[in-house]
């Protein structure tokens, strides 16, 4: 069993690490970090690099693909090398998954047409451009496609998918080992719950996927 995590310039670290430290604990699975060019790949604010040990051409038949998001999905959305790779590996995956705006990349590759999917709350409506059906749910299963909402939702996605693959008891064991008993200090984690002025401000400053 091989799990491939796609890295690209300006991805968001937690998008990748949430599933990595939950689903990636699957017994007997090998997780590989891949990017167009192997080597260090910088996260969204530039202050951290994760190492992609493999290039895309070295990972051709992963069982599970995880596509993290980031604030600049439009760059990779137009990168034919990445989109071709997503289409190619998807042909043989058991599960094709994303966190945050990673679903925009799956959609741009044509993989979510006619499917229910989610994304970061600021970007979820853009899924319609590619024929996907946006939902406000946190983790969405449609066939073998599993999409998660913004950034931290990859932890919930990782545990949920781990339970489907390895059983509830195994997933609960990983939940306990990662002490995932969340106690957020505020209740502002969704646009429905956050103060309205904060939501409005973020909507106003949302980087357009077209203008950058």
């Amino acid at each position: 069993m091989q799990i491939a995590v796609l890295l690209y310039d300006r991805f968001t670290a937690l998008d990748a690490i949430g599933p990595f430290d939950t689903l990636g604990r699957l017994d007997g699975a090998e997780t590989v970090f891949v990017s167009e060019r192997p080597g260090p790949v910088r996260t969204d604010n530039g202050s951290l690099a994760l190492v992609a040990d493999r290039g895309l051409g070295e990972v051709t038949r992963p069982d599970i693909v995880i596509v993290p998001g980031g604030p600049a999905p439009d760059v990779e959305m137009k990168n034919p090398v990445v989109l071709d790779w997503l289409r190619a590996v998807d042909a043989t995956t058991t599960w094709t998954t994303s966190v945050c705006t990673g679903s925009i990349l799956l959609a741009a590759a044509g993989l979510l047409e006619g499917r229910r999917a989610t994304s970061h709350w600021l970007y979820v409506d853009e899924l319609t451009r590619f024929g996907a059906e946006p939902t406000g749910e946190r983790v969405v299963f449609d066939g073998k496609y599993v999409t998660a909402a913004g950034v931290s939702s990859g932890i919930d996605m990782g545990l949920t998918l781990l339970g489907r693959i390895a059983g509830d008891e195994y997933a609960q064991t990983v939940q306990l080992m990662t002490e995932y008993d969340p106690q957020p200090p505020y209740d502002a984690g969704s646009p429905e719950k956050a103060p309205a002025d904060i939501v409005a401000r973020l909507r106003a400053f949302k980087p357009s996927a077209e203008s950058r």
Copy 2:
């Protein structure tokens, strides 16, 4: 404002990335990843490396230190170079923080003597060896020392500390941008909530900090 995240061989990725993608969003702050030797540092299961851009000697006066944990804290507990660095930077930090067994390193450096602190539930009692007072809480403040429980608790710690530093509204904005509205598929994230047989099994297989 400089935030330093300590990396060392076999750290747990989510321990470092939880605070990085919350507290690290502090406006105007620079986050640097440091380790004994700059370069790639492998996580606990070996399948990922994060890059430490700086060596310990290059980061001498961070405002905030974040020490992640891992399943092998005993190695760094006996590393005088790391313990000396922790003591040296702590002399001028505003906040000295840890996630998971990172608190065992702070304690081994003598920084938690007489202080209330937490750690991963499997390891929290070991804090007594170094004169700290273990608690079962998820995020513990004692003066400028902030310790978090296992792995995923670093997200709660990061948001809580961000609120103290930058105000509730700023922290809520970061919570909304990271869409931190957790929906775990199980309620097994603490030893009090998880099925008893899972807790017992993990306690039985707990790697001893002395025997490795």
